[in-house]
Symmetry: C2
């Protein structure tokens, strides 16, 4: 084994592309793009978002947020909300082509154009690490992306992956195996 | 928009397949499979692993761990270490077909068969949430998975994604877009 050492890097495969959305004090929706995060513990999500972001301030004020999965179908919009600050562009959400629909469960906007989202209540925000945690109150998905079993079909959802080395977004491909099953042959 | 509500679920796309490894007090390597986690903040990783796992106990004792990316080429071994407990099967690491090589940077084993890993020093473990954080001291990758630019090539690494709805492992596919770039056209 000959390995190359890259030093201390914030790299992982796969990294998610999480579109975090909240309502501002004026009732207008805002959204941002975050790759640092994942499931925190049972029914909770954790995501690292800087305190200066408008979305962060909106979540701290409203106590709620949604996390939509970025999709291959909306990659331009999902990248746009990661490039442009809501502090400087008040029309950011609409300019992305997003339409807000209020969550039935929390005081935060779902994004009509992104077909799967976690609807969350704010649990904690640590100003040192910028790590925010939220309780996943509900997961909702557009009927269009459900398979014949009534469950989310990843091939229809088309979530994207962030490649932190080449700064590209990647699609998800074919099945590689079955969890809690393939490994049994080594027992 | 017609959405189906699934209630409180621990679902996200993409979820990683993280192979967390550490040395036991006897110097023997152990490894487990974790999907709950991601980047925590700059140069740190966070992963949720139950206190009862042998690997958790080994990390708490040794103060170090590695996180290798599970790959399509080793899906059987990566699933196996998620099914079988190191507390009941002392030969788990070898039975998976894994060979340990000590990290140059931390007191934890790299896995020769998994070509990319984060080498980490334990920062914190919270017994309430089971959330562990580690400082990424080094990222290393096998020369075989580097592209002509000397960087990690995701097409050679072949990391897998966990689908929490159907309990399958998925490959990563083609490019969907370019980060910090595609969105500029909406400015």
């Amino acid at each position: 084994m000959s390995r190359k050492n890259f030093g201390s890097k914030t790299w992982l495969y796969p990294m998610p592309v999480l579109i975090v959305a909240a309502y501002g004090k004026d009732g207008k929706p805002n959204a941002m793009n975050a790759a640092w995060g994942g499931i925190y513990t049972d029914n909770t999500i954790g995501v690292c978002i800087a305190e200066s972001h408008k979305t962060t301030q909106d979540i701290l004020a409203s106590g709620a947020f949604t996390v939509s999965m970025a999709t291959a179908d909306r990659v331009i919009a999902c990248d746009y909300v990661g490039i442009v600050s809501g502090n400087r562009e008040p029309g950011k959400f609409a300019k992305a082509g997003f339409h807000a629909v209020k969550s039935e469960f929390v005081n935060a906007p779902l994004i009509a154009e992104l077909p799967m989202a976690l609807e969350c209540e704010l649990l904690s925000y640590d100003k040192e690490s910028n790590f925010m945690t939220g309780k996943i109150v509900n997961v909702s998905a557009d009927e269009d992306i459900l398979g014949s079993d009534g469950q989310i079909d990843v091939a229809r959802l088309k979530p994207i992956v962030y490649d932190p080395v080449h700064h590209t977004y990647l699609k998800i491909g074919d099945k590689a195996g079955t969890a809690f099953s393939d490994g049994k042959q080594l027992r």
